[in-house]
């Protein structure tokens, strides 16, 4: 990946609540806000943090499957719906399954780098609670190759990652591995309780370790090697942020102290028609993380916090190994030892990640960027961690499908 030819910043981030089971407001039997509500809430909240919507040059919207979840396509048409001053401006929608949000960031970044825009409104959205999970599983299976759907599990993606977990158990031991997965779950829930927009914010379970032990994988009802506690949520939500050049920040009236610079990035694709070569390795994440770090001229020891794509707890563990914090097979130990907890060596997913905060699929990539922006600009409220001045960088890893579409970005507080 080429180095950035100019400085690009993110600012004015916003996350809606991640709505779904776990939130007391959520009632599956009652009518709920639609796709347009979430887009508007997030977009307007970002616009509120700038001087004038008229100064936004274009909009990008990341979304995975509104065409099926909401029977809605042509999402760029919702950008002017956010604010009338965005009427007649360019807008585009991008899709890369659960990596759609990351692709939206990349698209905004490229516009700024190409100097076709100084300020881009980047938004991600997904509203998935329009159908029961058993039918939602069909929709989400679109992140895999359609020819593999027939042989796949009823819960297709839990099935895919259950296979990865099974391979990990076989190689390194099930009890050992599940200790790591358990700690991953506990961290996620504890962090989510610190973030008012998190789906698990209201979680009250007193002994999370005990709760995790109560659930055992059961292939007759779900998948062979994971339980529901190992899975991310079915979520409705949107996130938005401004992507801007230096000139863009000035134009929007954003103080640099409220902005974060993107210092490196990578976007890597794996052939979707191929099975992963090694189930215990997330090779696309590995390549993306390395390329992003290389493009910034950094190593993992420079990172102070990470938001990684834990659609399943096993993806969290394998992600830790792929980024390079642990040797293959040692990720479970690294996590179980508390090194990824908010007070650990490398705090990961400080507001709960996909398991604790939620996973509105097309919004997740943007949500991760907003979270890093909050942490680096000290806007994370109760979830704020202390950023070590010697390790001032943040990283996001957003994944679409089973290690197919991966976007990695490196951030630093603007100077």
């Amino acid at each position: 990946m080429k180095k950035l030819r100019k400085k690009v910043y993110i600012a004015a981030g916003y996350n809606t609540i991640s709505m779904g089971t776990g939130r007391s407001e959520f009632n599956p039997k009652k009518e709920r806000p639609g796709l347009e509500h979430y887009i508007k809430e997030a977009g307007q909240a970002t616009i509120k943090q700038i001087n004038d919507a008229a100064n936004i040059d274009e909009g990008v919207i990341g979304n995975f499957m509104a065409a099926r979840f909401n029977k809605q396509a042509n999402l760029p048409g919702f950008i002017p719906f956010i604010d009338e001053k965005l009427q007649w401006k360019p807008a585009i929608s991008v899709e890369g399954a659960c990596g759609s949000g990351g692709l939206a960031l990349v698209t905004g970044l490229k516009s700024v780098l190409a100097e076709t825009a100084d300020a881009v409104l980047v938004l991600g959205v997904e509203v998935q609670n329009t159908m029961k999970a058993i039918y939602g599983a069909d929709v989400l299976a679109g992140a895999g190759w359609y020819k593999k759907r027939k042989e796949g599990h009823a819960y297709f993606f839990p099935g895919q990652f259950s296979n990865r977990a099974g391979a990990y158990y076989e190689k390194y031991g099930m009890d050992y591995a599940r200790e790591g997965l358990k700690r991953w779950f506990v961290n996620a829930m504890e962090n989510a309780r610190l973030c008012p927009t998190a789906q698990e914010y209201e979680s009250k379970e007193t002994d999370l370790y005990k709760l995790y032990d109560k659930f055992n994988p059961n292939g007759a009802n779900f998948v062979d090697n994971l339980t529901v506690l190992d899975c991310s949520k079915v979520s409705d939500g949107a996130s938005s942020i401004i992507m801007a050049s230096e000139e863009g920040l000035i134009k929007l009236g954003i103080d640099k102290k409220d902005a974060v610079e993107i210092v490196g990035w990578a976007q890597v694709e794996r052939n979707i028609t191929h099975e992963p070569e090694n189930l215990t390795e997330l090779i696309t994440i590995k390549k993306a993380a390395k390329e992003a770090l290389d493009s910034a001229g950094l190593i993992i020891d420079d990172l102070g916090t990470i938001e990684t794509h834990d659609c399943f707890s096993i993806a969290g563990i394998l992600g830790v190994e792929a980024i390079g914090f642990a040797e293959p097979g040692k990720g479970a130990q690294f996590v179980a030892d508390g090194h990824t907890a908010r007070d650990g060596k490398i705090p990961i997913n400080t507001t709960g990640g996909l398991i604790g905060w939620g996973h509105p699929t097309g919004a997740t990539g943007v949500h991760q960027a907003v979270t890093i922006w909050e942490q680096l600009t000290e806007k994370a409220g109760d979830a704020q961690i202390e950023i070590n001045p010697d390790r001032p960088y943040g990283m996001t890893i957003n994944m679409g499908g089973d290690d197919v579409t991966v976007i990695a970005m490196i951030y630093k507080k603007a100077e």
């Binding site: 058993i134 039918y135 599983a137 069909d138 299976a141 759907r149 027939k150 009823a154 007759a220 009802n221």
Partner: protein
């Protein structure tokens, strides 16, 4: 005739009724699952849904569609295996829709009794009328050359009486589902004196496949479940009558209903349970049972009076509770019927007075909902009822007496040989009535 052959042609009589529709649903699922097995491909499976009501049958198909869809959603992991060879079925939704179609395809709605003349198995779920049952079963048996087996869902009529009346030579068995059959796990199985060969084994396999818990009961009117419930209900009514010396009728109903729920830690109070089952059904079952009982009069003038006044309880077709002794709003009791004024009186008007009269509750944190899933229920109840025993408050005293009576009823079902064991009595009350503890226990021993 093996299990699968027996289930190739089945009739459910009274299929549009509350019990019949549930029995039809479960049987349709079982038959469809058999038909989908590779070795049965191409073999016809026929389930006659027989009912006199055309309107009922139309509603039945809608009910089946909704229920089978729910069942299919739950067993999707299995369905994906069942439809493994169907290359046209890719997504979960494809398979769920196909399964709903396959199950409903087994069902033949009909108003003609002649449909049962070719069946190997007939489920009878018509009203609790001995003579009607005998007439229908006899007619089918005389016109059916397959020597069919008859499974009756009667909850009160002795099986041998039907067997003898319809001259079935032991080809009848009591297969008593609890309401609603699709949800309740319990089935009481009652054999005639000389059961046909293989019938009991078939019944057990069928129950097992339906994931039901079988409790054998001996052939005494009411069997175990109603044997307990009817006497328990009559005791509640009697105690309520006692209280009317000091309290108004509606206050007395409130007091006994509250004690039988909160102090006995049951899912609902006794008057709410009578409403749930239906005041008319309770009256009817008592009338069926009473002639067979010695030294006991299982009859309530109050129930007769309520029926005369047209207050019947029971459920609406959507499953919501009809008003009976109690009036319900969003499923919760809000008023109580006064037969003298023929009007409901709001509970809120006398609730406080009654609650004060009942005195302290042994432990307000112990409720049916809070303990039903606890593994240490026995310890909780030992402490709870021990506290209750030491209390002199009115509610505690009535509760202890009520629990003791329930205990006596349970034990008598064993000594009268209705049930084979104390465990069977407890299983029926735990699974069929969702009690949190069996009536035969040590909590109420003085």
């Amino acid at each position: 005739m093996n299990y699968e052959e027996r289930l190739r042609n089945v009739t459910v009589m009274g299929a549009a009724g509350k019990m019949g529709s549930g029995i039809l649903l479960l049987t349709a699922i079982e038959m469809a699952d058999l038909s989908l097995q590779p070795e049965n491909k191409g073999k016809p499976f026929c389930l006659n849904a027989m009912d006199l009501s055309q309107e009922g049958l139309a509603g039945l198909l809608k009910y089946l569609k909704v229920q089978v869809t729910k069942i299919a959603e739950k067993k999707i992991v299995l369905l994906r295996k069942m439809y493994e060879d169907r290359t046209d079925l890719i997504e979960n939704k494809d398979m769920i829709d196909q399964y709903v179609f396959d199950v409903i395809s087994v069902v033949r709605p009909t108003i003609k009794i002649e449909s049962a003349y070719e069946s190997n198995l007939i489920f009878e779920a018509v009203s609790e009328n001995k003579d009607l049952k005998i007439k229908l079963l006899s007619q089918i048996d005389q016109n059916n050359s397959n020597s069919p087996w008859f499974f009756t869902n009667t909850s009160s009529v002795p099986i041998n009486l039907i067997n003898d009346g319809a001259k079935l030579n032991g080809r009848i068995l009591g297969f008593h589902f609890y309401n609603p059959p699709a949800v309740q796990k319990l089935v009481e199985v009652i054999l005639p004196n000389k059961p046909a060969n293989g019938m009991e084994e078939f019944a057990k396999t069928y129950a097992k496949n339906l994931k039901k818990i079988v409790v054998p009961s001996n052939d005494y009117a009411g069997f175990i479940g109603n044997g307990h419930f009817m006497r328990d209900a009559l005791y509640g009514i009697t105690q309520m009558n006692q209280l009317t010396k000091e309290y108004s009728f509606t206050e007395s109903v409130y007091l006994i209903n509250k004690v039988s729920q909160d102090y006995l830690v049951r899912p609902m109070g006794i008057f709410q349970l009578i409403d749930y089952v239906g005041i008319d059904v309770v009256q009817f079952i008592m009338n069926v049972m009473n002639p067979f009982l010695k030294d006991e009069d299982l009859h309530s003038d109050l129930l007769d009076q309520m029926i005369e006044l047209g207050v019947k309880g029971g459920q609406h077709s959507n499953g919501s509770q009809k008003d009976g002794f109690l009036k319900y709003e969003k499923g919760k009791p809000v008023a109580i019927y006064n037969p003298k004024t023929k009007a409901y009186e709001t509970i809120a008007a006398f609730q406080k007075k009654c609650d004060i009269a009942l005195g302290k509750h042994p432990n307000p944190r112990v409720s049916w909902k809070s303990v039903i899933r606890r593994k240490d229920k026995n310890e909780v109840f030992l402490e709870f009822f021990s506290t209750m025993k030491s209390m002199s408050d009115m509610g505690a005293k009535i509760g202890m007496k009520y629990g003791k009576r329930s205990n006596e009823i349970g034990r008598k079902l064993v000594t009268d040989h209705v049930a084979n064991s104390e465990a069977d009595v407890n299983t029926v009350m735990l699974t069929g009535f969702f009690h949190a503890y069996g009536p035969i226990n040590d909590y109420f021993v003085f």
